[in-house]
């Protein structure tokens, strides 16, 4: 079961994912997010995006690619991943993406 909770405040978009971000769930989330981003970036070219993974227990490579694609759409340092559990932090570390994606 996947849930995505979006919270928009001015030029800040917080995306809280809940559940297993496996391949199919990540693809669903990516479609939804891309639609939202297209609108928001038009309004706020300096949009900041944060992915909250506090309630995510698993991420697939599709989700990691989605993180990379989102980071590319916004300005430098305007993307971050927050509240990861240690296992998922290690996943980003092994992938060599912890710094690029501002993972904490």
């Amino acid at each position: 079961m996947l849930e995505c909770i979006y919270n928009e405040v001015s030029n800040q978009l917080d995306c809280k994912f809940i559940g297993r971000m496996d391949g199919p769930h990540s693809k669903t989330a990516e479609t939804e997010l891309n639609n939202k981003l297209a609108d928001l970036l038009e309004k706020h070219p300096d949009l900041n995006v944060a992915f909250n993974l506090s309630e995510v227990e698993y991420i697939a490579s599709v989700f990691i690619r989605m993180c990379l694609a989102t980071a590319k759409q916004v300005k430098e340092n305007a993307f971050s991943i927050i509240s990861t559990n240690p296992l998922i932090k290690k996943t980003f570390k092994i992938a060599g993406l912890e710094e690029i994606l501002n993972v904490s």
Binding site: S61, K90, K93, A95
Partner: protein, 476 residues
């Protein structure tokens, strides 16, 4: 950046992502993935064997099927209960807990002789240890190796494995292979192939598990049951037309049983060549420009080779026998030939026969495999002591015996370590346990003996070593 380097980066980056996701997968899920791959590979054993023979034009279809069965079913049975994720052992007394950690992306080089079975084997042991794997096939077997990899990959994905946990190279090029081999993010090279390839792997700067060349002597000692020994040697050497590196290369017998053994080989369908015929065959088994085995005869039948050499032999001939006296580079039959050709030596007595076996073993096959047929335990031990081999198989077809799991309890493997003799790190049959880093969690366990020694005596140069040893071992 060249296209090859860019492509190498893509393969490795994909594998690194798979490695990252594998980090989140537990033992149960890992085992589910491995089981799915094994079942898919076993289901496709016949189709893959047919593809391999059609594409490479070498080997025997039925034997390729059996190779696929060994690579899937026997390898799976061998590794299925291994712990390869998280805690793998705990010793309360020593205070040591061991954890398995994946090595990282593996580049697996696959030989033309086993283009599908080696893929299945390497995929199973890589997935069991949560390592992503990139298959680098032989250029003349890219289609069948690629298909084997695809079957394994789709099964792995369906069982929840990460994307790109198995990749396979579709455009074989030397630059791409070298780009991959030396990629800084590669964890291991699993190189099964000829000496050139294995040397390139070792020179790449990436940790490598390679194999050595074989030159397996098989000693039929006089206490052996000759018809049994001959039947087993033929079974082994004719299997897939001699493409197994652990297959027998030279038969050594003591003179007193030489005639009996020769008659038995003839009775069971082998053909002893005369000196003219041997000269003709000699010309085609080695390439004069490289002094290496001629790839055109690898995995071909005895009758095909006879036709190439323009000699006439009975159509049902299983193995070409080449009676020899000497061993060395001037005697091509004394070296490794991956085809149904066997050198045949008669030693004047037990000691002479042993010396011939040593010469053959050291003629390019050290660290690999040696074989003996005997019912005399002291002769078996003597032989085993003298051979420089990772495996000495007894009363067993050495092709199947070396691979393990059929006639003995060796790990079932398509990558046979040959120790320092073969320039390898191990003499073992490579399996899942070789593809993990083992982390040791060490709880405090004070060395009581050392604590009982007053530290001052170590600082005082005048104190004799015996006194220090005595203090260390004192019972109080």
């Amino acid at each position: 950046m060249s296209d090859a380097i860019q492509k190498a980066n893509e393969y490795v980056q994909n594998a690194v992502l798979a490695e990252a996701v594998f980090n989140e997968i537990d033992q149960e899920s890992t085992d589910r993935i491995v089981e799915a791959v094994y079942r898919a590979a076993l289901s496709n054993r016949v189709r893959l064997a047919r593809m391999a023979v059609e594409e490479t034009c070498l080997g025997v279809f039925e034997d390729k099927v059996i190779k696929n069965v060994v690579a899937s079913q026997l390898v799976y049975e061998n590794i299925k209960n291994e712990k390869t994720v998280g805690i793998i052992s705990h010793d309360e007394l020593r205070g040591v807990t061991e954890f398995a950690q994946p090595l990282g992306p593996i580049l697996a080089v696959v030989p033309i002789t086993n283009p599908t079975s080696t893929v299945i084997f390497k995929c199973l042991i890589a997935l069991k240890t949560r390592n992503p794997i990139i298959i680098s096939p032989h250029r003349r077997a890219a289609k069948s190796s690629g298909e084997a990899a695809k079957i394994c990959y789709e099964a792995a994905l369906s069982a929840g494995a990460p994307d790109d946990c198995i990749q396979w190279i579709t455009e074989c090029s030397r630059d791409l292979t070298h780009g991959l081999m030396s990629h800084p993010k590669l964890g291991l090279l699993l190189a099964t192939g000829g000496p050139g390839l294995v040397n390139a792997a070792y020179s790449s700067g990436t940790p490598a598990i390679g194999v050595g060349a074989g030159n397996v002597p098989v000693f039929i000692e006089k206490s052996a049951e000759i018809p049994f020994a001959v039947r087993n040697i033929i079974t082994s050497k004719s299997f897939d037309n001699g493409t197994v590196c652990a297959s027998e290369q030279a038969v050594v017998v003591e003179e007193e049983i030489a005639d009996l053994a020769k008659a038995e080989f003839e009775k069971q369908g082998c053909y002893f060549m005369n000196s003219d015929e041997m000269k003709a065959v000699e010309k085609i088994i080695v390439k004069p420009d490289t002094d290496m085995m001629n790839p055109d005869i690898v995995g071909q039948s005895a009758t095909f080779i006879a036709e190439m050499a323009k000699i006439k032999i009975p159509s049902e001939t299983k193995i070409l026998m080449a009676p020899q006296e000497k061993v060395g580079s001037d005697y091509p039959f004394s070296g490794e030939i991956l085809a149904p050709i066997l050198a045949f030596y008669g030693g004047s007595d037990f000691q002479h026969a042993l010396k011939l076996c040593i010469d053959l073993n050291y003629r390019g096959g050290i660290g690999h495999t040696a074989s003996i047929y005997s019912n005399d335990e002291s002769a078996i031990s003597h032989f085993a002591e003298l051979m420089n081999a990772g495996r000495v198989v007894v009363n067993t077809p050495s092709s199947q015996g070396g691979v393990g799991g059929i006639y003995n309890t060796l790990n079932t493997s398509f990558t046979l370590g040959c120790g320092s003799g073969g320039k390898n790190i191990t003499t073992e049959n490579i399996t899942a346990k070789h593809l993990i880093n083992i982390k040791k969690l060490c709880r405090r366990r004070d060395n009581a003996k050392m604590k009982s020694v007053p530290a001052e005596i170590y600082y005082d140069e005048k104190i004799d070593v015996d006194e220090i040893i005595k203090a260390y071992n004192k019972n109080s």
